[in-house]
C-alpha cells in the first residue's frame, strides 16, 4: 500500500516513527473525546443536574482540542522534511537537466520538462504531505478504536472488523470495473477533449477556407458528445465512492439498530452503547479521508514516477578524459568509423563516419534533409555520444565522446535560431566570457555588424532582449551569436547549423559579409543546404542516409562529378 520509493527517502523512517506516535496520541484523544461526551450525555439522560457534566465536558473539550492540535502538530513536524525533500528533488532535477544536455531534453519536450520542474515537484510535495499522514492514520486509528470497542462490546467490534475488508473489496472490484471502462474510452475521450484546442489552433486555417462560422455548431456538438461519454464513464467511476459511502453509512445505521435491540433486551447499558455509536463514524473516517484524496495522491504518484524516471536517465560519464588544451593549427580531430543510433531506432542515424581534420579548416557538411547533418553536428558538439567508445581522437587521445569539458571550452555552437536569454544585450553577448570589458563588447558588436542597430535601441547595450522583452529579428540573433564568437578568441572551433536558411535573401547576403571574417583562424564546421556557402569551404563532407558518401575539396568533388555534383544540381545550382 505504501509507496516503497517513499520509504527509501533519507530520513523518512525517523519521521514515520515520530508521526506514528503523534497519530497514536491523536487516536487516544479521539477515544477520550467520544467517551467523555457519552458520559456527559448519559448523565443528562439520567436527568442529573447540569453540574454533574462539568468534568466530562471539560475532558471532552480538552480531548477535542488535543485531537485537532495534533493534526496541526503532525503537519508542522512533517512539513520541513517534505519541503527539504521536494526542494532537494527539484535541485537534482535541475542538475540532471544540465548534465543531460539539449539533445536529450529536446527529446523529452521542453514544455514537459519545465512543467515537471514546476508543477510536477509541487504535486510530489502535496503527495508526500498527504499520503504519509493519511496512511499512518489509516493504519493506527481504526484499529485502536476497534480495540476499545472490543473491550466495550465484542459483537459490535466483530461487525465493524468484518465490514472493513468488505468495503475495501467492493471498492477494488468497482474501481477495477470503472478503470477498465475508462481505459477503453480513454483514447476517444482524449481526442474529444483535445478537439477544442485543435480547433482553436487551426482557426485561421478554417477562416481561410471560409468554414469558421459554420464550425461553431461542430464545436458544440463535439463537446456534447464528450459530455455524454464522460457521464457514462462517471456513472461507473463514481460507484466506487458510492460503495464506500454506502457501506460506511449503512454500517453506522446497522450498529445503531443492533445497539437499539440489545438495549431493549438489556444486554448492554446506554453508556457503552452510546460510546460505540459515537466512535463508529470515527472508525470509518480515516479510510474516507484517504479515498477523498485518492486522485491527488494518484497525480502525485505519477509525477514522482516521471521525475524519478528523468533522474534515472543515463548521462554521459567521463567528461574529464581530455586534458585542457587550445585548438592550434596543428591540432587534429579524428573520427574513426563513428556510428550513432537514436534510442529505440532500428537503423543508425550515422554509420561508420571516418574523417581526419587538422588545424584551421572550413568544413562544409551538406546533404538532403534527414541525411544526418544535424546529428553529426550534435555529435561533434558532444550532445550525443557515439555508439562505440574510443572512436574519436583529439591529438591522438582516445575519447569516449566529445562531451568533454576541455573540448567545450574550445567551441561555439551557432544553430539556426541562436537562443537569446531574457537578459540585457550585453549579458547575452558576454554569456561565454567572465568579466568582459565594455570596450571588448563594443568591439565585438562592431565586428558583428550590430553597431548601427544598437544605436537605435533606447538603452543601447543595456536593453533587455529575449522572451517577453524586445524582440530581435532572426538576422540580428545570428549577429549576436557572431558577436559571442568575436568576443571570445579562445574558442577556435565554430559549429554552424544552417545559420541563414530561414533568413530573407537580403539579410542573408548582408550577414554573410560579417560572418566570413570570423572564419579566419578558426576551425569551422558548417552544415548547410544553401549553395553559396559551399563555395566558401575548404573541404566538404557529403552526407546521405547517415554515411559520408563523398569528401574532399570543392574542386576535387566537382572534378569527380559524383554525389556532390548531383546534390548541387538538385538544389538548383547554376554552374
Amino acid at each position: 500500500m505504501i509507496d516503497k520509493r517513499l520509504l527509501a527517502m533519507p530520513g523518512m523512517r525517523r519521521y514515520l516513527g515520530i508521526l506514528g506516535i503523534l497519530v497514536f496520541i491523536q487516536a487516544v484523544s479521539i477515544i477520550f473525546q467520544a467517551r467523555s461526551l457519552s458520559v456527559a450525555i448519559v448523565n443528562l439522560w439520567n436527568l442529573e443536574p447540569l453540574k454533574t457534566i462539568f468534568w466530562p465536558t471539560v475532558i471532552f473539550a480538552a480531548a477535542f482540542l488535543s485531537r485537532h492540535l495534533l493534526t496541526v502538530a503532525e503537519n508542522r513536524v512533517f512539513f520541513p522534511f517534505v519541503e527539504k525533500t521536494s526542494g532537494h528533488l527539484r535541485e537534482q532535477l535541475m542538475a540532471k537537466i544540465f548534465h543531460l544536455g539539449p539533445a536529450e531534453i529536446e527529446k523529452q519536450g521542453t514544455g514537459n520538462i519545465v512543467t515537471m520542474a514546476l508543477e510536477g515537484i509541487d504535486k510530489v510535495q502535496t503527495y508526500l504531505m498527504l499520503v504519509i499522514i493519511k496512511i499512518l492514520d489509516m493504519s493506527i486509528t481504526p484499529w485502536l478504536i476497534l480495540l476499545y470497542v472490543l473491550f466495550l462490546r465484542w459483537e459490535q467490534a466483530i461487525f465493524l472488523f468484518i465490514i472493513f475488508p468488505v468495503i475495501i473489496l467492493f471498492m477494488i472490484i468497482l474501481g477495477l470495473a470503472a478503470q477498465s471502462k475508462a481505459d477503453r474510452q480513454y483514447e476517444g475521450y482524449q481526442r474529444l477533449s483535445n478537439h477544442f484546442v485543435d480547433t482553436l489552433r487551426g482557426l485561421s486555417t478554417l477562416k481561410q477556407l471560409g468554414l469558421s462560422k459554420r464550425y461553431a455548431d461542430n464545436v458544440f456538438k463535439v463537446s456534447e458528445s464528450y459530455r455524454k461519454e464522460t457521464m457514462s464513464t462517471l456513472k461507473i467511476a463514481l460507484t466506487s465512492t458510492f460503495a464506500l459511502d454506502f457501506f460506511t453509512t449503512l454500517s453506522i445505521a446497522v450498529v445503531a439498530v443492533f445497539l437499539g435491540f440489545d438495549l431493549l433486551d438489556g444486554k448492554v447499558m446506554l453508556l457503552p452503547a452510546l460510546t460505540i455509536l459515537v466512535l463508529a463514524p470515527e472508525y470509518f473516517l480515516p479510510i474516507r479521508n484517504f479515498a477523498n484524496d485518492y486522485h491527488a495522491t494518484l497525480n502525485g504518484k505519477n509525477a514522482l514516477s516521471a521525475v524519478l524516471e528523468i533522474l534515472g536517465e543515463p548521462e554521459m560519464k567521463q567528461t574529464k578524459v581530455l586534458k585542457d588544451f587550445t585548438w592550434q593549427p596543428d591540432t587534429t580531430l579524428e573520427l574513426d568509423k563513428v556510428s550513432y543510433t537514436y534510442p529505440k531506432a532500428e537503423k543508425p542515424a550515422l554509420k561508420d563516419l571516418s574523417v581526419t581534420i587538422k588545424g584551421m579548416k572550413k568544413i562544409g557538411i551538406i546533404g538532403a534533409s534527414g541525411s544526418g547533418k544535424s546529428t553529426l553536428i550534435n555529435l561533434i558538439g558532444g550532445f550525443l555520444a557515439p555508439d562505440e567508445k574510443n572512436r574519436i581522437k583529439i591529438n591522438g587521445n582516445e575519447l569516449p565522446h566529445l562531451n568533454q569539458q576541455a573540448w567545450q571550452k574550445n567551441f561555439l555552437y551557432i544553430p539556426q535560431n541562436p537562443y537569446l536569454f531574457h537578459a540585457t544585450l550585453a549579458e547575452n553577448i558576454a554569456f561565454y566570457v567572465d568579466h568582459a570589458t565594455p570596450e571588448a563588447i563594443n568591439n565585438a558588436v562592431k565586428r558583428a555588424g550590430l553597431a548601427a542597430w544598437v544605436k537605435t535601441l533606447p538603452d543601447g547595450l543595456d536593453t533587455m532582449i529575449g522572451e517577453g522583452a524586445r524582440t530581435v529579428s532572426g538576422g540580428q540573433a545570428q549577429r549576436i551569436a557572431l558577436a559571442r564568437a568575436f568576443l571570445d578568441p579562445d574558442r577556435r572551433v565554430l559549429l554552424f547549423d544552417e545559420p541563414t536558411a530561414h533568413l530573407d535573401i537580403e539579410t542573408e547576403a548582408a550577414l554573410k559579409q560579417d560572418i566570413l571574417p570570423v572564419f579566419d583562424n578558426h576551425l569551422v564546421f558548417f552544415a548547410t543546404h544553401r549553395l553559396h556557402w559551399i563555395g566558401e569551404m575548404d573541404y566538404v563532407l557529403v552526407i546521405d542516409h547517415g554515411r559520408i558518401v563523398e569528401q574532399g575539396t570543392p574542386a576535387e568533388l566537382t572534378a569527380k562529378n559524383g554525389e556532390y555534383v548531383k546534390l548541387r544540381s538538385e538544389m538548383g545550382a547554376t554552374e
Binding site: 450525555i41 443528562l44 439522560w45 436527568l47 443536574p49 447540569l50 457534566i53 477535542f64 485537532h68 493534526t71 496541526v72 527539484r90 535541475m94 537537466i97 544540465f98 514546476l118 481526442r191 477544442f196 480547433t199 482553436l200 489552433r201 487551426g202 486555417t205 481561410q208 471560409g210 469558421s212 461553431a216 464545436v219 459530455r227 464522460t230 457521464m231 465512492t241 453509512t249 453506522i252 445505521a253 437499539g260 431493549l264 447499558m269 455509536l277 534533409s369 550532445f383 567545450q408 561555439l412 537562443y419 554569456f431 561565454y432 522572451e467 529579428s473 530561414h502 537580403e506 542573408e508 547576403a509 559579409q513 543546404h529 549553395l531 553559396h532 563555395g535 538544389m571 538548383g572 545550382a573
Partner: protein
C-alpha cells in the same frame, strides 16, 4: 464585495448560464442539501433510537419508527450523494459545451487568416484552461458554498423554533465559519495568490529560458550560475507555500474550536431545557450526535472560497474577450469574375505603433498575374497581405476588388482568396477530412483527384488506412513538405481566383522547396498569385517582383529586367543560385 461586483458587472460568462440551466441547478443544490441532511438525520435518529431503547420500553413498537428511519437515512445519504455528483458534473459539462461554442465564436470574430506562428495558439490554450477554471468554480466553490449556506439556515432556523437564544448563539458561531472566515480567506489569499502567481510566472520564464538555452549553458560550462539562477524564485515560492500551509492548518483548527463551542452551547442548552422529563431527555443524544455531521460541509468552505482569485482572473479574461469586437461592415457579393485587385495609396499604422508599417503603396494585380513580394523581416510584408485580404482595416487608402472595397466582401472571402502559409494547419482527423475542408461539398473522388494532382496519391495509398489515415496532432504524421502539399490539395478544391502564398517554403530544404514551387505554379497557372517569399528560389515563375523596404516598394519589375538592370538584384540572384560572387 466590491471586486465581486466589478467582476460580474459586464459578465456574459457566468451569470447567464446560471439562469439558463436554472432547473438543473436547483436540483443539484437540493440533492447536495439532502446528502448532508440525511447524514445529520442518521446520527440524530440513531442518538434518539438508543436513548429510547435504553429506557427499555415494553414493546419493540416504540422504537420501530427510528429503526426503519435509521436504515432509510443510512441508504439515502450515499444515494443522494451519488446522484448529486452525477447531476452536478452533468450540469457543469453542459455549461462547458455552451462555453466552448461561445469562446469559439468570440475568438473567431477576431481571428486573422494571415498568421505567422502558432504562438497565438498557446494563448488560446490558456483560454481553454480558463474554461476549466470556471468549471471548477462551480464544482469547488459555488455548489459547496450554497449548499453550506442552505444547511446553515436549516440548522439555525430549526434550533430557532425551539429556543431563539441558542439559535442566535449558533447564528454567530457558525456564521463565523460559513461567512466571515471564507471572506477573510479570500482577502488574505487574494494578495498571496497574486504574489504567488507573479513568482511562479518569473520561475516559469526563467526556467523555460534556461532549458531552451541549455546548449549555451552546457558549452559555457557555467554549471553553478545555472543552478544559482533558480535559487531565488524557488525559495520565494517555498516561503509563500509555507505561509499558505500554516494559514490553512491554523484556520482549520480555528474552525474546529468554533465547532467545539457550538457543541458546548448545545450541550448546556439541552442540559438545562431537556432534562425536565425522560421523554425530553431522549433527544439530548440526538442533538449532540447530529451536530458533527451537520457541520461537516462547513469545514471546507473557506478553502473553496479562497480559490476565488484564480477563478476571478479567468472570468475577467474571458469577459475581456467580448470587448473591442470589430465593427461589422454591410456585406455584398462580388458580381462576375475576378478582374483586378487594386491597392490605392494604402497606408497602415498599428494603433499602438509609432511608424507607418505600410506607407502609401499603390499597385494593381490583374487576373492571372503572378507577383512576388520580397523584403527583410519587419518591412510590412505580412501587414500588406492582411490588408489585402481584409484582416486589417487601412489607416488611409483603399483595397478594391473589381472596384468594390475588400471590407465589404468578407462574408464570401473564401470564394476569393486561397491561402497557403508557412505552417498550414492540419486538423487531428483523417487525410480525407482534412483535404475536404477546401470544399465540403466535394465528393470522395474530387478529394482523391486533388491529392493525386499534388503528387501524394502513391504515398497516401501506400499507408495501411489510405485516405482514412489520421494526420495526428498538428499533422505530425507527415513531413513539412507533405503537409504543404496536402494544404495545396485543399486549395485546389477551394478553387478561389486569388492565391496568397505566405512564405510557404521557409522551413523546407531547397530540394523540397523547388519541387513544391514548381508544382504550385504548374497547378495554379490560371490563378492570380501573390507570393511573399524570403529568397529567390523559383522566382522565374512570376511576372513581377517587388521589393518592400520600410513600407514602400523600392525595386520592381520582371525578374529578367531586374536581373539585367539592377546590380543588387543580380547579386542576390547569383548568391541564391550558388554562383560565387565576391563583393570585397
Amino acid at each position: 464585495m466590491k471586486q465581486l461586483r466589478e467582476t460580474f458587472a459586464h459578465d456574459t460568462w457566468v451569470m447567464p448560464y446560471l439562469r439558463k440551466y436554472k432547473g438543473l441547478l436547483i436540483l443539484v443544490l437540493f440533492l447536495g442539501f439532502m446528502t448532508f441532511f440525511s447524514g445529520g438525520a442518521l446520527m440524530f435518529n440513531s442518538g434518539y433510537l438508543i436513548s429510547e431503547a435504553a429506557r427499555r420500553p415494553s414493546s419493540i413498537i416504540y422504537i420501530y419508527v427510528p429503526v426503519v428511519l435509521a436504515r432509510a437515512f443510512g441508504i439515502a445519504r450515499p444515494v443522494f450523494r451519488y446522484i448529486e455528483r452525477l447531476t452536478s458534473h452533468n450540469w457543469v459539462l453542459r455549461i462547458v459545451s455552451d462555453f466552448r461554442k461561445k469562446l469559439y465564436q468570440t475568438v473567431e470574430r477576431k481571428a486573422t487568416t494571415i498568421q505567422r506562428s502558432h504562438q497565438t495558439g498557446d494563448i488560446l490554450s490558456i483560454l481553454a484552461d480558463d474554461i476549466d477554471h470556471i468549471e471548477n468554480l462551480y464544482l469547488r466553490t459555488v455548489f459547496p458554498m450554497v449548499i453550506g449556506w442552505l444547511l446553515y439556515l436549516f440548522v439555525v432556523i430549526g434550533i430557532g423554533c425551539l429556543n431563539w437564544v441558542v439559535s442566535l448563539l449558533l447564528v454567530l458561531l457558525l456564521g463565523i465559519i460559513v461567512i466571515i472566515m471564507p471572506l477573510a480567506s479570500v482577502a488574505t489569499n487574494g494578495v498571496r495568490e497574486f504574489r504567488q502567481h507573479q513568482i511562479q510566472h518569473e520561475f516559469y520564464t526563467n526556467l523555460t529560458d534556461e532549458v531552451l538555452g541549455l546548449g549555451d549553458w552546457l558549452i559555457s560550462g557555467r554549471y553553478h550560475d545555472f543552478m544559482k539562477l533558480q535559487e531565488k524564485p524557488i525559495k520565494a515560492i517555498a516561503a509563500l507555500r509555507r505561509k499558505d500551509h500554516f494559514y490553512q492548518w491554523w484556520r482549520s483548527f480555528f474552525v474546529q474550536v468554533l465547532v467545539l463551542l457550538s457543541v458546548l452551547v448545545l450541550l448546556i442548552w439541552s442540559g438545562q431545557s431537556l432534562t425536565g422529563s425522560k421523554a425530553a431527555a431522549d433527544w439530548i443524544a440526538a442533538f449532540a450526535l447530529a451536530i458533527f455531521p451537520a457541520v461537516s460541509p462547513f469545514l471546507n468552505m473557506s478553502q473553496g472560497m479562497s480559490e476565488w482569485p484564480v477563478y476571478q482572473r479567468s472570468i475577467k479574461r474571458v469577459n475581456q474577450l467580448d470587448q473591442n469586437q470589430p465593427r461589422e461592415v454591410p456585406q455584398e457579393k462580388l458580381s462576375g469574375n475576378f478582374e483586378a485587385l487594386k491597392i490605392d495609396h494604402l497606408t497602415f499604422k498599428y494603433p499602438d505603433g509609432d511608424r507607418k508599417v505600410v506607407n502609401d503603396i499603390s499597385m494593381t494585380v490583374r487576373s492571372g498575374e503572378k507577383v512576388a513580394l520580397l523584403g527583410p523581416s519587419g518591412t510590412g510584408k505580412s501587414t500588406l497581405l492582411k490588408l489585402m485580404v481584409g484582416d486589417l482595416t487601412p489607416t488611409a487608402g483603399k483595397v478594391m476588388i473589381n472596384g468594390m472595397p475588400v471590407s465589404a466582401l468578407q462574408k464570401n472571402r473564401a470564394e476569393l482568396f486561397g491561402i497557403l502559409d508557412q505552417q498550414p494547419y492540419l486538423f487531428d482527423t483523417t487525410v480525407m477530412n482534412n483535404v475536404r475542408l477546401g470544399n465540403i461539398n466535394a465528393s470522395d473522388d474530387d478529394v482523391k483527384k486533388a491529392i493525386e494532382a499534388v503528387g501524394l496519391k502513391s504515398l497516401i495509398e501506400s499507408l495501411p488506412e489510405q485516405y482514412e489515415t489520421h494526420v495526428q496532432e498538428a499533422g505530425r504524421r507527415f513531413s513539412g513538405g507533405e503537409r504543404q502539399r496536402l494544404s495545396l490539395a485543399r486549395i485546389l478544391l477551394q478553387d478561389a481566383p486569388i492565391i496568397i502564398l505566405d512564405e510557404p517554403t521557409v522551413s523546407l530544404d531547397p530540394i523540397t522547396e523547388r519541387r513544391l514551387l514548381d508544382q504550385v505554379f504548374a497547378l495554379l497557372k490560371d490563378k492570380t498569385i501573390i507570393w511573399v517569399t524570403h529568397h529567390l528560389a523559383g522566382i522565374k515563375h512570376v511576372d513581377q517582383v517587388r521589393f518592400l523596404e520600410a513600407g514602400r516598394f523600392d525595386m520592381q519589375g520582371t525578374p529578367e529586367t531586374l536581373y539585367q538592370t539592377e546590380a543588387r538584384f543580380r547579386q542576390l540572384y547569383d548568391l541564391d543560385r550558388g554562383k560565387s560572387v565576391s563583393n570585397n
